[in-house]
Each structure stands twice: as C-alpha cells, then as structure tokens.
Amino acid sequence: MDVVMLSRIQFGLAAGVHFIFPSLTLGLTLLVFLFEYKFYKTNEELFKTISTFFIKILGLVFALGVATGIVLEFSFGTNWAEYSRMVGDIFGAPLAAEGIFAFFLESVFLGVLLFARNKVSKKVYLLSAFLVFFGSHLSGLWIIIANSWMQTPAGFAIEGGRAVLTDFWAAALNPSTLVRFIHVIIAGWISGSLFAAGVAAWYIIKQQHTKEAQNILKTAIIVFCIMSLVQFASGHLHAVQVTNLQPEKMATFEALWQTQQGAPMSIIGIPVESEKKTYFEIKIPKLLSLLAYFDPNAEVKGRDAFPEDELPPVLLPYFSYHVMIGLGSLFALMSLIALFLLLKKKLFTAQWFLYVLMFAIPLPIIANEFGWIAAEVGRQPWAVYKVLKTVDAVSTVVPATHVLLSLIIFSLIYLLLVVLFITILVKIIKKGPQAESY
C-alpha cells in the first residue's frame, strides 16, 4: 500500500477511536451538570450519588479521550506535513484556541469534580460541573470549526502556493460550521443519554440500585427523546447544506448517478461504482428533491455532473450515510415508544423496552462513527474541499514502511485500549453508584 493510503488509515483509526470518547463526554458532562444542579437545589443525597457515579465514568472516558486526542494533533505534522504547510495559516489557529479556551477549562475543572467534592463549596463544585460541561462543548466547537473549514473552506486566499487567512470570522463560521456543530453536539447528547438510560435499565432489570436507576432513567430518557427528535431536524438542515455546498458528496451518499429532476431518495441498495448502477435499490420517488429544495421536481445534481477525478468513492460513504440515518430513525422510534411508556407510567416496568435500552447503548456511538466516515470519505479526494487533494497533503519525507510500522502498533494499542475501556466501564457499572471512587 502507498503512504497516502496508510496515513489515511492511520488517521482514520486514530480519529475513529478518539471520537468514541469526546462524544460520550459531551453527553456525560450534560448529565453531570443536570444532576449537580438538582443536588444543589434540593440537597438530596440521591442526586449527589448519581452525579458522583457519572463523574467517575467521565474520569475514565476523559483519560481515554486525552490519550487518543494528542495523537491527532501530532498527526497533522507527522503524517500530513504538506497539509500543515499548505493550510497551517488557517487550520492551526482553531486548534490552539481550543487548547487555550476550552481544553484547559475542562481538564482543570474535571480535576475538581473528581477529587475536590469536599475541598470546595457547593457553589464552586456546581460551577466546576458547569465549566467542564461548557469547556467540553467549546472544545467541540473549535474542533468542528477546524474540520468544517476542510469541508467548506472560507475566509482565505491562495498566495504563494499556500492558503492564507483573509477573514477570521468567515473562516471560523464557514457555511457548514454551525449546522455541523449542532449535529455533533446533539449526537453526543444522544450517546451520553442513551448510555445512562441503558445502564439504569440494566439496574432496574437486575433490581439493584432501583431508586438511583429510576431517577437516572427518567432524566436520561427525557434528554434522549428530545434530542433524537431534534436530531432529525438538524440532520435535515445538514443534508440541505451538503446538497448545496458539496453536491457531489450528496450525490454519492444517495448513489445518484445521473442529474435529474424529481430525484428519489435511496433507502437501501448496493451501489456499484464501476457500473454506475445501484442493485436491489429501494427508493422513494422525488423525496430527495423535496427534502433538499422543498420542491418535488427540483433538479438534483448526480455524480455525472462532476469530473471523475473529483468524485469520492461510492460504497463506503453510501453505506455509512445510510447506517447513520437508519440508526437515527431507530432512535426516533425508540424515543416515541419511550414517551408513550413514560406517559403511561410504564417506563420502569416494561421489561422488553428496558432490554432494548440496554442493548442500544453502543448504537449511537456506531451512528457517530458512520456519520463521521460519511462526512470525511465523502469529502475525498480532497483534504480541503476544492483546495488541496489528500494525495498532496501527505508528508513526503516519511516512508511507507514507517507508517506501516506505526499503524500496526497503533492498531494493537487501540485494540487494547478499547477492550480495557469496556471491561473497566462494565466493572464500574457493576460496582454501582454507591461504590467509592479512587
């Protein structure tokens, strides 16, 4: 394999494993803040117990996030030196801003949450919970700014063979930043809330820690229900944005081979790129046109409207996009059922649904991963859309053998990390909310 493909796999692996942890962090910090706020208001020990339990899990998740995150920051220089030279004038700033404004905040105050419950006042502790919540979301914003600039670059000019910043705000708030930020944050909240709901469901099934579990489940399921439904709207807005600004990406997601009026939405199928054909396809006529342009007969560009060498591969983005949407639909369905059970006051007794919640814990993470794969592979062959191709972004001085070596070691380490993460997570959950920490 060539060095470009190896570096892509390595970055994909590193970012993919990393992404598990920050998305859980987003949801967990929200829950921690909610329960801390309840504790602050009511002074009930129950909320403190619950919050402490999630802080413990957050400690583990955060450590893995830090461990896997630093790899990414180094990778732009180690594996993508030409990228760094070409766009460093723009791309470095949000990473630095993330450190200064956000990552310090969440790291330092997470220390307070983990170790200083009895060392600071209740007010300061609540404030710390808020700052960890705020910091992790602000961190997400800066990272999304950086990544969105790769999708829809703005606020720059090409001078002397490199991209130079001309307008900071235009670059930061580029056309896809906000919609992608909202989409990712909600995805994180869904991940965290379903995780919490699933854990609580398990306790209820096992008839352990019932009081805590019912409380967790109620709060978590409300967050989950709202966010799963809102995510439909945000996903729609994001899809409209992609259709308008990266039309070849949407054509690829939908395996829309020909430009057409009244374009259908592909529900399922097997796209074959070499034949420009989708086998066993089920599609809903005119829906893509309707969703993208509010007009069932609007023209949607197909892959044929673009030069061959500027098109992404089809299979992986198509598959990833549809898995994400499928799971998103499943979450919406689950939230409708949950709302129904909640209103009927059967949420705690509907055993089958408790099992569903429990087994659904990993699904949002899977949806996140596929959504991200769709976004990134769908951007190919560009590293920065229409500015820099991925093949021109790679480090020229690093031989393929070195990348292969590091890739093998990373694969082993990450496998170990994920296995241990799950093992320890299960252990913490089994010990229950009352177990002492550290």
């Binding site: 630093i70 220089g77 180690t78 030196a81 460093g88 470095g92 630095a96 200064i100 170790f115």
Partner: protein, 329 residues
C-alpha cells in the same frame, strides 16, 4: 505593527507555553518515572498517583496548546520537525497514551497492577528523555533541504550533543518529580525522595557541565550569547538552592528552585536558537521565526486569543492548585 514584532512575540509565547509545560508536566512525568525507586508497595504507588492525579491532564494541556500554537504560528517548523522526527514522535505518542490511561487502569484492573505501574513509569520516562533529544537536535542542527524537508534518518537524531541534551532534560525532569514527591507526599516516599534528590542534583550538575562543554566544542557560534550565560548562572544558582533546601527540609522551596531551573534551561535553549526555530546543518536552510511563520493576520488574531485566554487559564490553574494544596498521606 510590523510582522516581525508578532513573529518575535510568538517565539516568546511558545517558549512560555513550553516552559510552563516542563515545570508542571515535569513533576508528573518525573515522579512517575521515579516511581519504582520511590514506592515499594501498592499503597505507596497510590500515594504517588494521588499526588498528580487531579492535575496531570491539565498539565498535559500545556503541551497540547504549545504544539497547537507552534502549528498555528510557525506551521513550517511544525511540519518539518514532526514529519522529520516521525519514528521518535510515534514513540512519544505510544508512551503518552499509556501514561494517560495507566492510572485509571492501575486503579480498576487490580489483577495487573504491576503491569500498569510499569506502563505509568515507562510511559513517563520515554517522553522525558525524548523531548530533550528532540530539542537538542533542533539546536544542534538537522539536515534540511531547500524545501524545508528533513533528509536524515532516525539515527541522525542520536548524535552525541542531542543525546546529552536529552539526558540533561531527563535528569531535570526526574529532579522536578523528586522535589514534588518530597513536598507533596508524607512518610517513606518523601524520605526516599529526599535521599534520592542529592544524587539527582549531582547528575544534573554533571550533565549540565557536559552540555556546556559540548556547546563550546560543537556550537561555537552561540557561545558569545550573553543571555545564554545568564541562564546558565540562574541554573547553577537554582540547582544549589534545591540542594540547600533539601538539606534544610524546606521541600516546597526545593520544588520551586527546581521549577526555576526549567526557566533557566529554556532561556538557554531560546538563546541558543533565536531567531531560528530549527537549525539546519546547512545554515541557509535554517527555519527561522521569519521564514517559517504564518501571516501577520493569523499571528495577530492568535495573539489576541492568547491575550484574552492565557491570563484566565493561569488564574484558574493557580486557584485549583490552591484547592489541592496539602500533602498526600
């Protein structure tokens, strides 16, 4: 303002970030590297970990921010060094991954505590050594071509001068961790740290003199630099101060003395480099703050970000350290 003003400002800001990083993560990495010598059982290992647990990830953010600031302000230096030192940096990354997770894993994975204790130690020891080797290389000069690309190999990095700088950095970090242990932990761990401290001071002094001698021998062009000698003087004083404080049982002052020694080491490194960021073996291809920087607009915006953000970071970092003051028992 002229762009060169911003280029200079960023040289100093990155120097500042790395200085604070080495002081703060220095004690984390140092105490973890020394754990086999300081802690003889699981209870003592827990004390060692407890002494850094609430703050280590905040400390590592100084490195992450320093790296990102280098990327943003001097992307050409970032690209050259990070791609050129590929294998060495991969080693650093593997190590930092293990050190980041090892405490959580040590705590929860009781059956394999021995393994995680070693992961904690080796994961801290390797970066402590390699950071200095990398710094020694960019001061000493690495083969760089016209296109700013590194043309050496992994073994280019292992020349005598950079290795000595690496050992000096390592011994400084070990001393920092040792003073932290003496200051922060009670009982046997502190006692062992106090006993070990004098040996580390001697190692530091020896390596420092060796580094000075090699600098005079290999890098005559920077010998006339006055601020470098000023840094050397401060280093000698702070090292002596650590010795005196350890003798008089003033463990906090010893820690502060060791911290000041990092400031002096960075002054020397900065003096040896400026205005270069990466010295090339062919002088015309040096990467300097002028030819490796981002544009004025980026440097200016980043400066504003730093002006707003850094005082706030310093304020709450100091606050949280105050929250965690007191000894681990």
């Amino acid at each position: 303002m002229d762009i060169s003003v911003y280029q200079n400002i960023w040289f100093f800001i990155i120097g500042f970030l790395l200085t604070v990083y080495s002081i703060l993560d220095g004690f984390d990495l140092g105490i973890a590297s020394l754990m086999p010598a300081l802690a003889k059982n699981e209870k003592e290992q827990k004390q060692v970990m407890d002494s850094i647990w609430p703050v280590w990830d905040g400390n590592e953010v100084w490195l992450i921010t320093g790296g990102a600031a280098l990327f943003a302000a001097f992307p050409f230096a970032y690209a050259t060094v990070f791609s050129g030192f590929y294998l060495a940096l991969m080693l650093v990354l593997f190590a930092l991954i293990f050190r980041a997770v090892s405490m959580e894993f040590w705590y929860y994975d009781e059956k394999r505590r021995k393994l995680w204790a070693w992961a904690f130690t080796i994961g801290s020891f390797l970066p402590s050594l390699l950071f200095g080797v990398a710094l020694g290389n960019i001061i000493y000069g690495i083969p760089i071509d016209l296109n700013m690309n590194f043309t050496g190999s992994f073994f280019t990095l292992l020349r005598p001068f950079p290795l000595v700088i690496g050992l000096l950095g390592l011994s400084a970090i070990l001393l920092q961790g040792c003073t932290w242990a003496a200051y922060k932990i009670e009982g046997d761990v502190a006692r062992r740290a106090k006993a070990l401290m004098n040996k580390l001071i001697i190692a530091n002094a020896f390596l420092f003199i060796l580094a000075i001698a090699l600098t005079i021998g290999f890098l005559p062009s920077i010998v006339s630099n006055l601020s470098g000698w000023l840094g050397a003087l401060v280093y000698a004083i702070s090292l002596s101060y650590v010795y005196v404080c350890n003798r008089d049982n003033r463990s906090f002052n010893a820690f502060m003395g060791s911290s000041v020694s990092f400031v002096s080491l960075w002054i020397m490194a900065g003096a040896a480099l400026y205005p270069n960021l990466v010295r090339s073996t062919i002088e015309a291809y040096n990467l300097t703050i002028f030819n490796a920087s981002s544009t004025q607009l980026t440097l200016k915006i980043m400066f504003i970000i730093a002006l707003i953000g850094m005082p706030v970071v310093l304020a709450y970092t100091i606050y949280v350290y105050k929250v965690f003051k007191g000894k681990v028992s």
